[in-house]
């Protein structure tokens, strides 16, 4: 069964992977801020969904994580993209294009009918 949370996870995972690809290793709070920034602040990043998503990506082997120091010298967990993660971005990007393409067609049907 596919529920809304899985869909959210899917797109959130891709967003995280793309963020890490663009900016290199980051900790959770920076990832959240970056996603909000890129979305033009249309997404309000709930950290309650972020960390489980990060854990899921880590368990899939797409990102790696280790404890290190932040710019202000505080201990934070920093996440980085793995090689598998890089491949996954390409796979997911293709799937995403395909999925949005399909949905797009349905909209066109409606427009044609009207």
């Amino acid at each position: 069964m596919t529920d809304r949370r899985d869909v959210l996870y899917g797109s959130l995972g891709l967003m995280i992977l793309k963020t890490l690809e663009a900016l290199g290793p980051l900790h959770g709070y920076r990832i959240a801020r970056r996603i909000e920034q890129i979305s033009g602040n249309q997404l309000a990043m709930n950290q309650g969904t972020l960390y489980p998503a990060l854990l899921k990506l880590e368990q899939a082997g797409w990102i790696s994580a280790r404890w290190s120091e932040s710019e202000s010298g505080r201990k934070v967990r920093r996440y980085a993209l793995t090689a598998a993660g890089r491949r996954q971005i390409r796979v997911q990007a293709a799937e995403w294009q395909q999925a949005t393409g399909i949905v797009e067609r349905f909209f066109r049907i409606q427009e044609d009918a009207s």
Binding site: G48, T49, P52, K56, A65, R74, R77
Partner: protein, 898 residues
């Protein structure tokens, strides 16, 4: 301060497996703290709060929504498994009857909340326990003046005499409370509380330093090196938890002290101290009349009790009174538990008050739960069918009762959760208020700003009581005679009835609903008065208020100049430098600033009227302040008539004052105050008609009211201003008029003060409107409390009305059917059906309105009349649903209802 999320992490660490912590919770909390630190550096308070709130919310979302579901996370708890059928049914009913859930939760939560807050207040403030080893045996000795029953602290001479001869108290110790500037390295000096304390203290409290050594008797000998023991907080915040801190130096005032030890975390004996220095007072250096005042405490000897120790002490007191009648004739030493010596302001009366407050909150729980029971009963009545079937299938009365109890328990637990959350918030503000008013913002070491575990246990008990009332009462009623009902008929036949008690309860409740807005409106008016006070006559957001004091001793080079002279010089110099700062448009000083609590005294006006002894017209309570010559100028308050102060007013014997408009109105009945003379009454002789020793003051000017609301009958808003001689007030308050946000100026002010005089203590920097008297905050809190109470009462009443009518309709289905079948008109049927209930409601409203009118002394007739109409209208609305439902009943359905 502890970084946010620390406590949350500690709780989570107990609940979750190590993996969960490592991969999920720790990263989230680390980020929360990093973000919080960033915001702290930018110094935005609202942003920090927002981050904390969001972080905590996210944490709970994560745990609830994801943590429990994710297979990979070993949660160690499976909350939904193994719950009994009853609990699941209870949960399902919460969702099904949403209205009852919301109303029941809000009402019960409010009742439990008030119980928690009252209990916390009682245990933490009225009857606290010392968190020290065997703390109940730590006692204090105070002096009671038998002439006027005043309590006062003993002197050094008393202490030495007791120490040498008391046997029922071992290790008698003493301390003096000092405020000195502490300077570590090159940091900005900051006033701190220092305890000058006997070495014996550390045997009394039975605590050892975590590093180094405690103070010892050798430190008390004159000429020994100056040493200091520091608290754990101080060690962490000022010395970065340096393990080699022993032997390092810090300055208290201008005297360097060597650190000899660090006390354990949480140790802040005797009150809220972080620095302890040896008490080096030799009685031989002081004549008996000038003996310094100290506070004396000790530990009861093994086997001794307070009762047994008192006679021994009384004998010592009598000996002293005989030997030194001039100082000790009326003094009697008393031995009391340590905490009682600090809460001197609390009398037995206020303890009773708080106890009855507790009792009231328990009554509130009972009352509210009785109401919820009514709602639950109405719900149970609609489920009569289900209950009958269960009975038919063999469920005993106990089984059905326990089901209803568990349903109520589920509801009560939801309410308790809400209550605890809000109680935490309320306790924070109450705690801040108490520590501010009673301890001048210092938090006594035995007080906690969070709800104690004991109170949580109490809350759990209240929850059980609530569930018992809301579950068992309806259970008893529903199951009574159930066997007979089972044999006779089905639901809808009118087997269940509200009894007389319920009827009275409903009438009373509607009455209370009608009364409740009266106190709320009265308090609202008072709050409004306070709010207006903040803006009366000045622009508070443009001013910075600062309190300044100076170390009294230990200032080198002090010889030759008096303390007052040095303080005046330092204040003047700081004023001069501040005025030279860009962005500062004026600086002035006063003994008290507008919006602060002012002391008040009785006065006489003019010799003639005083001589006639016209008590009511010529004696008034007025507040007073001493202000610098340029005070009104800097606060932009024009002199309305007469003149401003000038330097001539500072001459000895000048005795001139300026009064405010309220003074002219209230005290002089609107007459011109210029040239009138006023005199303070002797405060010790409130009832005497003459006060010969106090001098007369001449009124030379009239100013507008500053920081005082324009209405109100209290004559204390009449204020007299005296000219302030430089250095004549210690501490002194400074008002700085700035362009832009005055708070941005705070750090600059501190560094200027350090340059002027390192011993100058700067504290309580705040914007004028934040200085508002504590009374305003108390009133606001009270207002919200009453508003919440009013809301709960109205909510309960309306749902009560609704459920009573619904119940009536559901119980008389068959009757309606018959009436309609026999040709009864809808209007008549409804009238017959609801006549009884509507009578109760109208009766309740009438009783309530009459009482409300009495309470407000006819002050709010219009408000009450309008509110009465609203109550009737809303009650009518609440009847709408049940009436429509009754009318929709078809005769055939009604008769088929068996």
């Amino acid at each position: 301060m502890r970084p946010p999320g620390t406590r949350l992490r500690a709780v989570a660490a107990r609940l979750f497996a190590a993996n969960t912590m490592e991969y999920l919770i720790d990263p989230a909390i680390a980020d929360l703290q990093a973000e919080y630190e960033d915001a702290s550096r930018n110094g935005r308070t609202w942003r920090k709060r927002w981050i904390c709130l969001r972080g905590h919310l996210a944490f709970f979302t994560m745990i609830v929504a994801h943590g429990l579901a994710a297979k990979t996370i070993d949660v160690g708890l499976a909350p939904w498994r193994g719950l009994s059928l009853d609990v699941r049914l209870g949960l399902r009913l919460l969702v099904k009857h949403r209205g009852l859930t919301v109303v029941g939760t809000v009402a019960m939560a409010f009742a439990i909340w008030s119980g928690i807050v009252a209990f916390e207040f009682y245990t933490q403030i009225m009857r606290p326990r010392l968190p020290l080893g065997d703390g109940a045996r730590i006692v204090a000795i105070v002096m009671v003046d038998t002439a006027n029953l005043d309590e006062r602290a003993p002197t050094l001479h008393d202490f030495v005499a007791w120490r040498d001869s008391l046997t029922s108290v071992q290790d008698l110790a003493a301390y003096r409370d000092r405020t000195w500037n502490v300077i570590v390295g090159t940091a900005v000096p900051e006033p701190v509380a220092v305890a000058e304390i006997s070495a014996a203290t550390f045997r009394v409290v039975q605590e050892r330093p975590v590093l180094g050594r405690p103070l010892v008797e050798a430190d008390e000998t004159p000429g020994a090196p100056w040493v200091v023991l520091i608290g754990h907080d101080v060690w962490q915040s000022r010395f970065e938890s340096d393990p080699n801190v022993i032997g390092r130096q810090l300055r208290l005032g201008n005297v360097p002290h060597t650190i000899v030890g660090v006390m354990p975390e949480g140790f802040r004996f005797p009150l809220a101290h972080g620095f302890w220095v040896p008490l080096r007072l030799n009685p031989a250096n002081y004549p008996r009349q000038q003996s310094p005042v100290v506070r004396v405490f000790g530990r009861l000897s093994p086997g001794a009790t307070l009762e047994a120790a008192q006679p021994e002490l009384t004998v010592l007191g009598a000996t002293a009174a005989a030997a030194f009648p001039d100082t000790h004739q009326h003094l009697e030493p008393r031995i009391v538990p340590y905490i009682d010596s600090i809460f001197r302001g609390f009398s037995a009366d206020s303890a009773t008050e708080v106890f009855s407050g507790n009792l009231l909150s328990v009554l509130l729980v009972l009352l509210v739960c009785g109401n919820v029971a009514l709602l639950m009963f109405a719900r149970a009545a609609t489920r009569e069918n289900e209950i009958l079937v269960r009975t038919a299938l063999g469920a005993g009365r106990g089984r059905i009762m326990s089901q209803l109890f568990v349903e109520a328990l589920v509801l009560a637990m939801v309410a308790a959760l809400v209550a605890v959350t809000f109680a935490q918030l309320a306790w924070h503000s109450l705690f801040a208020m108490v520590t501010e008013n009673m301890f001048e913002n210092r938090v006594p070491f035995w007080m906690q700003s969070s709800i104690s575990p004991r109170t949580l246990v109490y809350a759990a008990l209240l929850t059980l009581v609530a569930a018992a009332i809301a579950g068992f009462l309806p259970g008893l009623k529903v199951t009574r005679g159930i066997g007979t009902r089972l044999r006779q008929s089905g639901p809808g036949a009118g087997g269940l009835r509200f009894g007389g008690i319920w009827t009275v309860l409903i009438v009373m409740q509607v009455a209370v609903m009608a009364i409740v807005p009266t106190p709320v409106i009265a308090i609202y008016r008072d709050v409004g008065k306070w709010a207006r006070a903040a803006n009366a006559g000045l622009a508070p957001e443009q001013y910075l208020a600062v309190t300044m004091a100076m170390d009294g001793e230990k200032v080198p080079g002090a010889a030759g100049s008096t303390f007052t002279g040095r303080f005046a010089a330092a204040t003047r110099e700081l004023e001069r430098r501040l005025e030279a700062e860009p962005g500062v448009t004026g600086v002035t000083v006063a003994s008290l600033l507008p919006l602060m609590d002012h002391p008040w005294r009785m006065i006489d006006i003019d010799e003639e009227s005083a001589a006639r002894g016209e008590r009511n017209s010529s004696q008034r309570l007025v507040s007073s302040a001493r202000v610098a010559l340029d005070f009104f100028d800097v606060l932009d308050t024009p002199i309305l008539s007469g003149r401003a102060f000038h330097s001539g007013d500072l001459q000895p014997g000048a005795r001139t004052v300026i009064v405010n408009q309220s003074f002219a109105q209230l005290v002089l009945g609107g007459n011109n105050p210029i040239g009138r003379r006023v005199r303070y009454r002797d405060p010790t002789r409130l009832n005497a008609t003459r006060s010969v020793n106090e001098p007369w003051h001449e009124v030379v000017g009239l100013v507008g009211d500053l920081g005082i609301a324009a209405d109100g009958r209290d004559s204390r808003r009449a204020r007299i201003y005296h000219p302030l001689v430089p250095g004549g007030s210690h501490p002194v308050r400074m008002a700085v008029h700035t362009m832009g946000n005055p708070l941005l100026f705070a750090s600059r002010l501190r560094s200027l003060a350090r340059d002027v005089e390192p011993a100058l203590q700067i504290s309580e920097i705040a914007r004028f409107d934040q200085v508002a008297a504590a009374g305003a905050r108390t009133m606001t809190l009270l207002f919200w409390l009453f508003l919440a109470l009013a809301f709960v009462v109205v909510l309960l009443s309306l749902t009560g009305i609704y459920s009573v009518l619904s119940f009536t309709a559901s119980q008389r289905t068959r009757e309606v059917g018959i009436r309609v079948a026999l040709g009864g008109r809808p209007r008549h049927v409804v009238a017959v059906l609801f006549r009884g209930s509507m009578t109760q409601i109208v009766l309740g409203i009438l009783i309530g309105l009459v009482i409300a009118d009495r309470l407000s002394e006819g002050d709010m007739v219009r408000v009450i009349a309008v509110y009465g109409c609203v109550v009737v209208a809303v009650s009518a609305l609440a009847t709408l649903g049940p009436v429509r439902r009754a009318l929709r009943i078809q005769p055939i359905d009604a008769l088929r209802a068996d």
